[in-house]
């Protein structure tokens, strides 16, 4: 059964079409990497999956719930889908602990103690238990992003969305975040990741999707993608990215 089903999705900003007829899926337990040049619509696509962006055409179904249905409670659905952003987006006016617990308490209705225990477990998991009382501004970028991942995990999500989680990081901090993501992937978390980190894709991805100009031009298993990319644009993109 697919966890995320994307069917014939098109989206416009005014007259400008950002997504054209996109269709794909992410199965439960699968890790799918979405890549492509900047402006190709990959971030927009992943933001549509939990309804942060509305779509004008097509259908997106997450865990059996269609997003566009008027009866769908978007907030409820989003509470089940974890998301990690390029710029971390920790809440700067709250301590790390409060960042970890606020949504558990206010959205899931957990008790403060339960939320705290869960939050600290996840914080420990990303290796930052010592930072619990600090404020986000006192942490490095890599640490902030790991806290952001812990915050999402504390909600016990059924799948995780990553929107370029390492592209705002200084190079020396990229790996500490990727390590956490690799660990998650090997544990069987369902993941959809927009990223340029091809090393990560090679290591843990099941499938790779390549986007260009708002279209999905290649959707292949990892081995096929890196071995024999069919689309010319994907070949060009890969050769550029793998040069370094």
């Amino acid at each position: 059964m697919s966890m995320i089903q994307i069917e014939n999705v098109s989206k416009w900003y005014g007259d400008f079409q950002v997504l054209t007829d996109c269709g794909t899926h992410v199965n439960a337990g699968e890790v799918v990497v979405v890549c492509g040049p900047s402006g190709s619509g990959k971030s927009t696509l992943i933001r549509c999956v939990n309804g942060l962006e509305a779509i004008q055409q097509g259908r997106i179904v997450v865990n059996g719930t269609a997003l566009a249905e008027p009866t769908t409670n978007l907030s409820k659905l989003r509470a089940q889908v974890g998301m990690v952003f390029q710029n971390f987006e920790l809440f700067p006016h709250m301590s790390v602990t409060d960042n970890l617990t606020i949504a558990q308490v206010k959205v899931l209705g957990r008790s403060t103690e339960e939320a705290l225990a869960r939050g600290l477990t996840m914080l420990d998991r990303v290796g930052l238990k010592a930072q619990a009382t600090k404020f986000p501004g006192a942490l490095s970028g890599g640490q902030q992003q790991r806290v952001a991942i812990a915050r999402a995990l504390a909600m016990d999500p059924i799948c995780m969305l990553f929107d370029e989680p390492t592209s705002a990081l200084d190079p020396e901090m990229v790996n500490e975040v990727l390590d956490v993501m690799v660990e998650l992937a090997t544990e069987g978390m369902t993941m959809m990741c927009v990223t340029h980190e091809m090393g990560f894709a090679r290591k843990v991805a099941d499938r790779v999707i390549f986007m260009d100009h708002g279209r999905i031009v290649e959707d292949a298993s990892k081995d096929d993608f890196f071995g024999t990319p069919r689309a010319e644009r994907a070949q060009l993109f890969l050769s550029k990215i793998l040069q370094h």
């Binding site: 089940q80 952003f85 899931l108 915050r151």
Partner: protein, 225 residues
């Protein structure tokens, strides 16, 4: 040039203190109501609901286009009539005060609404996305994530507006309410010492407002680091 004669001031201090109480009461009420109602107006203006946003914009723009003196006069015309019709309250001496409180509260709301709107817009869009992604509905997102950050960012502006408001309360003079300035004027007129009382009132306002603005600046420095 006459020499100054400050002797009427010490005896008038109780009257002046009463006046200052009225000034502070109007300032505090207008600030409190202004921030609450102003927040509602700001959120309405930023909401996706077109008619609601338009109504809030019309309210804010109308109040910002009209001089405060006219607003005070308007409410001194409307409030007594309404009080009489709805509550059967007779024209008592308190009616000036009630009119002034209503006028200032509604007027300041328009100014606070603009400050708060800018404050809300100063919070990065990604913060809203993150709150949404955690499953928070719009009201919770505003209350827990956006407004706390917005208010923190705009605290100096809100306080500066309060200082302006404190000065503007002197305009209740036009409906004959004895706030601090009104009291000073009355005493000066009574004793034939208008020059001294006006200079005294000016000095008091200056010391209070300048002191407060220094505090705000200090606060700003502390927050900006």
């Amino acid at each position: 040039m006459d020499t100054f004669d400050w002797t009427s001031i010490p005896g008038a201090l109780p009257i002046l203190a009463d006046g200052m109480l009225i000034t502070l009461e109007i300032t505090a009420t207008a600030m409190l109501v202004g921030i609450l109602w102003g927040t509602v107006l700001a959120l309405a203006r930023l909401s996706g609901n077109r008619p609601l946003a338009w109504l809030a914009a019309a309210y804010v723009n109308l109040f910002r286009a009209v001089p405060l003196v006219m607003v005070i006069l308007w409410f001194y015309l409307i409030v007594p009539t309404l009080l009489q019709r709805w509550l059967g309250v007779s024209q008592s001496s308190d009616i000036r005060m009630i009119s002034a409180l209503v006028a200032f509260a509604l007027f300041e709301s328009a100014y606070y609404a603009e400050i708060i709107r800018a404050g809300v817009q100063s919070v990065p869009k990604g913060q809203v996305d993150a709150a949404f992604a955690l499953g928070m509905p719009y009201p919770l997102t505003m209350r827990l994530v956006v407004l706390p950050q917005a208010f923190r960012n705009m605290l100096p502006l809100l306080l500066t507006q309060a200082i302006i408001l404190f000065q503007d309360t002197s305009l209740v003079y036009v409906i004959g309410l004895a706030d601090f300035f009104g009291a000073a004027y009355k005493v000066g007129d009574r004793d034939g010492r208008l020059v001294e009382l006006l200079l005294f009132a000016g000095a008091v306002y200056f010391i209070l407002c300048f002191g407060a603005s220094l505090l705000v600046r200090q606060l700003q420095k502390k927050y900006s680091t």
